[in-house]
């Protein structure tokens, strides 16, 4: 049994008031209490960026690696000890900039990891530059004339790269996010949740209000086992048209399940 107080560290989060990271932190801890995750069964890996500070605020064994490299560290942990329930916290710059290569390969190899992407579409710890997920035309410190690059679509990219559980969440809906983290973690194979979160300091467009207004959950009858359909829905994005929920889910052996029993 994990109690909320067991997860408490001497450090209180130093994220900006209203930051989506606070919701992700809270939702993860809620899930940990419900599921009994602690240092005897779980390991956390984080990258570098605002999200990476999370290792100081959750009392579960963790590894804060280098910018972009959370996935390979987590892969090594999981291969060395398949019994460890392993989470990856990563940011959109971390995961899709320096970590882009690791992301697509982790997806195709289907490691049994739960990957939570803090997606604020910006580099915020370096005070607000464009990220690989920043919208075309968006003005940032590094693109004062407007971003000339098209962003990745993380959900489509995860699906085509071979991840077997691909979802999108919004940080402000903590009960749903908690539920989704638990479901992603139960899935055997690579689980990705692209978590939309506002950067309250550097992004005045994608605010909590914006996400409240423009997101909705995939219909109850939506079938996440249909890859073509999942891909089609993943491209849906716009005013009042940002779908949340599990886009794609399939049962395939995870990487770790294919390691011969005698060397596990």
């Amino acid at each position: 049994m994990t109690k909320m107080s067991d997860l408490q560290t001497p450090h209180f989060p130093d994220w900006c008031p209203g930051c989506g990271d606070l919701n992700i932190w809270g939702s993860f801890k809620n899930a940990a209490v419900q599921e009994g995750w602690d240092s005897s069964n779980t390991a956390i890996v984080a990258g570098i960026g605002c999200h990476g500070h999370i290792v100081n605020f959750i009392k579960i064994n963790s590894f804060e690696g280098l910018h972009g490299r959370a996935l390979p560290v987590a892969t090594g942990i999981k291969m060395a000890n398949n019994r460890l329930n392993t989470f990856v916290f990563t940011g959109d710059g971390d995961c899709f900039g320096e970590g882009g290569n690791h992301f697509i390969h982790a997806c195709r190899r289907n490691h049994d990891l739960t990957v939570l992407i803090h997606d604020n579409s910006l580099y915020s710890l370096t005070t607000g530059q464009t990220s690989p997920l920043t919208a075309h035309g968006f003005k940032t410190k590094s693109t004062p004339q407007g971003n000339p690059d098209e962003p990745f679509n993380p959900v489509s990219l995860a699906i085509v790269s071979g991840a077997t559980f691909v979802a999108r969440a919004y940080s402000g809906d903590m009960p749903k996010l908690t539920e989704m983290i638990i479901e992603a973690n139960k899935h055997k194979g690579l689980s990705i949740i692209d978590i939309l979160q506002p950067c309250v300091t550097f992004n005045k467009v994608c605010t909590h209000g914006f996400y409240h207004e423009n997101t909705y959950y995939l219909e109850n009858e939506y079938d996440p086992s249909d890859k073509q359909k999942a891909l089609e829905r993943s491209f849906e994005f716009g005013e009042k048209k940002i779908p949340l929920g599990i886009f794609y889910k399939s049962d395939k052996p995870s990487y770790e399940d294919q390691i011969p029993e005698n060397i596990k």
């Binding site: 240092s39 890996v45 590894f63 390979p72 560290v73 892969t75 090594g76 060395a80 690791h102």
Partner: protein
């Protein structure tokens, strides 16, 4: 001062062909034939970076004494194509022979007149034996066995072992091809037969030797040291390490993973080590550049890690399949900031086997990265060694616990700088943090703590200097007119040269960080003339010696053409220095 090692008689056989014609396997077969006849071997292979076509040569050096380097000349040249003659006609020794295909249109006009021309109808025999060009190698092996006075039965037994898994028919046609090559020489070139390779008298109670290269030795050493996880991205010249490790993982119970790049390789290995596994990664210079950030991450998080760096000539892609020693200063200095790094360099395959086992214990004891440097010549050149013995080796995991510890502090201070390492899943909370951190691993920017943690980490290097660092090795006479200082695969070349030289000794350096400054200073205190030998442009070992000691190096011999140094070059250099003095 007379040298203790006698001048030895060496027979050098060079086989040349296009890539893909099996020069490497033919060379290994000849080496095994020599070993089983009671001889020592050193195989040197030179090839371009491609798979088919191009020019490959392999020189098998055979001697009753230990042989540790290639020779600049050949006693027998086996030309499986015209190119071999065109490129090597100037390398014949005084009493030498050329074995070539008498049926093909081979131009031997450039070959010196004193070289015996030993034409053998390779393709005709191959066609008659089994209608396959693949048999040409085997015909040549039979022919050279005859010229050297070797035993055809030993060759036939080797063929049966080598091709046994491919079925009886394959063995049969190969044995026939070898026998016909052998017969053709014995019948047609009686006066050119030598009695060199007759099975040695001592062969009946012969200690088993193996033909083994550094890549195989590193893999065997890692397995012997209890390797549990390795991630390696392919790169010349270390690719065969991963091939051996990938093949044997189920047998010995470790995991090999091919990652997407070297950045991932080192981070995966760090992750596995954090989880408690004995972990290693392997690369060459270019891959090490990508690993640089992970190198310091292992240092900062105090995660044990063994890295093998098999050097080849840079910069950039450089000369991918050739040899060089230009990565020393990079490995000693790469990464931002300061962290404790242990850097060792092996001089041959056997030393690589011994040092990698030690490297795993050092990594665990000091909870920091340990780099073992080797180079192309060590990686890919087979040498005869007695079977490796690891019975005296003990796996030492250092201060390591998988039990629950009360009031656990992963990074607590200690006199030796080393704290007890726990693993995730044991219930002991800690953060392995790339940010500066406190005793539990929480991020901290406190200046007092920063000083403590920096000093704690760097203290480990001092502890290592006191407890584990080894002195350089002295070879040859205690006192000499000229002392050669060198490292890496030059060891074999220099030891071979020492057999020809009086009053020259050799100091072999294999600990680079921490550096044995005092021991080296003492060893060289009476040296009359110090000659530093290395394969790079700037004299990177000389720089290290200058940085760490007051030793004055009299002369530097620097070679950077991508080719191995030949013992003859050392002998000539020493003679030249003597005539100048």
């Amino acid at each position: 001062m007379k040298n203790t090692m006698p001048k030895s008689e060496i027979m050098s056989v060079k086989i040349g062909a296009e890539a893909g014609q099996g020069v490497k396997s033919a060379g290994l077969m000849l080496a095994k034939l020599a070993i089983r006849s009671g001889y020592h071997i050193y195989n040197q292979i030179e090839y371009p970076s491609l798979i088919k076509g191009g020019h490959n040569v392999l020189q098998v050096n055979i001697s009753k004494d230990e042989v540790t380097a290639p020779r600049r000349v050949n006693d027998i040249l086996i030309a499986l194509n015209q190119d071999t003659i065109n490129k090597h006609f100037s390398e014949f020794s005084e009493n030498s022979g050329l074995i070539f295909d008498s049926e093909a249109k081979i131009d031997t006009s450039k070959v010196p007149a004193n070289v015996a021309l030993l034409g053998v109808p390779f393709s005709k025999i191959a066609k008659e034996s089994g209608n396959s060009d693949l048999l040409i190698n085997t015909v040549a092996l039979g022919a050279v066995t005859a010229v050297l006075g070797g035993n055809i039965t030993i060759l036939n037994n080797l063929i049966a072992e080598e091709f046994g898994s491919k079925g009886e028919e394959v063995v049969k046609v190969n044995v026939s091809a070898a026998e016909q090559g052998f017969k053709h020489i014995t019948e047609n070139y009686k006066k050119n037969l030598r009695a060199f390779l007759s099975p040695s008298d001592s062969v009946s109670n012969f200690v088993p030797y193996m033909a083994v290269d550094g890549n195989e030795s590193v893999a065997l050493g890692a397995i012997s040291a209890g390797l549990q996880y390795t991630a390696i991205y392919p790169m010349s010249p270390i690719s065969n390490i991963l091939a051996v490790l990938a093949e044997n993982q189920e047998k010995y119970g470790y995991i090999y993973k091919q990652p997407e790049d070297e950045i991932s390789a080192i981070n995966m290995a760090i992750g596995a080590s954090y989880a408690g596994a004995r972990a290693m990664t392997t690369t060459s210079g270019g891959g090490f550049c990508l690993m640089t950030e992970g190198y310091g991450l292992a240092g900062m998080t105090e995660t044990p890690l063994v890295i093998i760096e098999g050097m080849r000539p840079g910069p950039a892609t450089g000369l991918p399949t050739w040899s060089d020693q230009g990565d020393l200063q990079m490995i000693l200095n790469a990464h931002q900031g300061d962290f404790p790094r242990i850097v060792l360099a092996a001089g041959d395959a056997k030393e690589a086997f011994e040092l990698i086992m030690q490297a795993f214990n050092l990594a665990d004891k000091y909870q920091t990265p340990v780099v073992l440097i080797i180079d192309k010549n060590i990686c890919e050149h087979a040498q005869s060694f007695p079977l490796y013995d690891f019975s005296g080796y003990k796996i030492d995991r250092g201060k390591f616990s998988t039990e629950k510890i009360e009031n656990y502090n992963r990074y607590g201070l200690s006199d030796d700088g080393i704290s007890t390492r726990g693993i995730p899943g044991a219930g002991n909370f800690f953060v392995a943090n790339s940010d500066e951190h406190d005793f539990e691993g929480y991020s901290s920017e406190d200046p007092e703590l920063r000083i403590k943690m920096m000093e704690k980490r760097m203290k480990k290097l001092e502890t290592c200097r006191e407890q584990d660092m080894q002195k350089p090795h002295l070879y040859g006479p205690e006192n000499a007119d000229i002392t050669i200082v060198s490292w890496g695969s030059n060891k074999g070349t220099i030891l071979q040269a020492l057999r020809e030289l009086d009053s020259v000794n050799y100091v072999h350096i294999n600990w680079l960080s921490p550096f044995p400054s005092e021991a080296l200073t003492e060893m060289l205190s009476n040296s009359k003339y110090i000659l530093n030998v290395e394969c790079n442009y700037t004299g990177q070992m000389a720089k290290l010696i200058n940085e760490k000691t007051d030793i004055k190096i009299n002369e530097n011999f620097l070679k950077y053409d991508g080719r191995q140094i030949y013992p003859e070059e050392i002998v000539e250099l020493v003679n030249k220095l003597r005539s100048k003095k």
